[in-house]
């Protein structure tokens, strides 16, 4: 009987725990869904918009990136003053990027070449898959392989 009750309590507890864990992930799922919707509706996932941007033939993408950064700067300046805290009550924190030059300019240029070719960066790749562009699977698999090649060659590259 005692064992039964104990077992019952433990079961409730572990159920509560897994529910809590599911909640923890649920909010990230919602953020992802929101991200996907915004990027489709903004046309930022359009191959044509990326091409147009790199041909300086439209303001659209510059407007999106510019206002995103401007709002982001504003948010981070306000949170720096302590007006916004994280969910856990600590300060909003953006990790500092390592100092360097070569890795950013070379790595950035290599990414830029790919971005303008396939018209999608690592977020839109998944979003486009969701919109029904199934051939994007090829790009995603190649991108995983590209990341793997970097990891293997890392120590031989200038950073």
């Amino acid at each position: 009987m005692v064992a039964y009750v104990l077992n019952f309590i433990i079961n409730i507890k572990s159920n509560e725990l897994s529910k809590f864990k599911r909640m923890k992930y649920f909010k990230f799922l919602l953020v992802g869904i929101f991200f996907g919707i915004v990027l489709v509706k903004s046309e930022a996932v359009s191959w044509y918009r990326i091409y147009e941007m790199f041909r300086f033939q439209s303001f659209h993408m510059y407007g999106i990136i510019g206002t995103a950064i401007a709002t982001g700067v504003l948010f981070l300046q306000i949170s720096k003053k302590g007006f916004v805290k994280s969910l856990k009550g600590s300060d909003i924190f953006v990790p500092k990027k390592e100092k360097g030059f070569s890795r950013y300019i070379i790595g950035g240029s290599i990414f830029g070449l790919g971005w303008a070719l396939i018209g999608a960066c690592p977020g839109p790749m998944y979003i486009l898959l969701g919109t029904g562009v199934y051939s994007m699977i090829i790009v995603i698999l190649a991108a995983i392989l590209g990341t793997f090649i970097y990891g293997v060659l890392k120590d031989k590259l200038p950073h």
Partner: protein, 188 residues
């Protein structure tokens, strides 16, 4: 309703993207989509080949959850939140692309000339997507981030490395769009 179904203007979309960044920071995480490629490498077993991938991927499972959400979000956006509107491209862009062999520019999100089953069935088409993917995967990890990590988060927090990276993105992008793409799609 019409304003939701139509494409959203840049001054609405831009701030909404920074809401994604702000929400993730509020949850104690950092916005960075290319990190998922590294996590996927680790899951597949890349840690056996390079110590770079020796990380506890479970700590990144929140980010993979964002990816799953993004796929669902893309589905919802085209199925329920869109009409038949065509991307309002610059007429000059459309003319230019036509000369390169791209028909119906803006009618779809990605050109059929690159992404349709027919296109990827040709060796050239398949090779283009593979090379593009390789460049994106290699370049983002080398630069330590992509558009979300450097252009949005890095520049919003006024970090110099991110500015250098974004300049790099544009060097590569300008070279591809202006000099290499016309060559690849040269109509002979």
């Amino acid at each position: 309703m019409e304003s939701i179904l139509n494409p959203w203007p840049w001054y609405v979309s831009g701030p909404l993207i920074s809401v994604v960044m702000a929400l993730l920071l509020y949850f104690g995480k950092t916005f960075g989509m290319s990190s998922n490629l590294k996590t996927l490498c680790t899951i597949i077993g890349a840690d056996k080949f390079s110590s770079f991938f020796k990380t506890n991927w479970k700590e990144q499972s929140w980010n993979l959850t964002v990816v799953v959400g993004a796929i669902i979000g893309g589905f919802i956006a085209v199925q329920f939140l869109s009409n038949d509107s065509v991307t309002n491209l610059n007429p000059q862009t459309i003319t230019e692309l036509k000369e390169m062999g791209f028909k119906n520019s803006g009618a779809t999100l990605v050109p059929n000339e690159m992404y349709s089953l027919e296109a990827i069935s040709s060796p050239k088409g398949l090779l283009l997507l593979i090379i593009g993917g390789l460049l994106v995967g290699f370049g983002t990890r080398y630069a330590g981030g992509c558009t979300s990590g450097h252009a949005i988060t890095g520049l919003s927090s006024l970090q110099k490395p991110s500015l250098i990276a974004v300049i790099g993105f544009f060097i590569g992008g300008l070279i591809m769009a202006n000099f290499i793409l016309p060559y690849i799609f040269k109509v002979s």
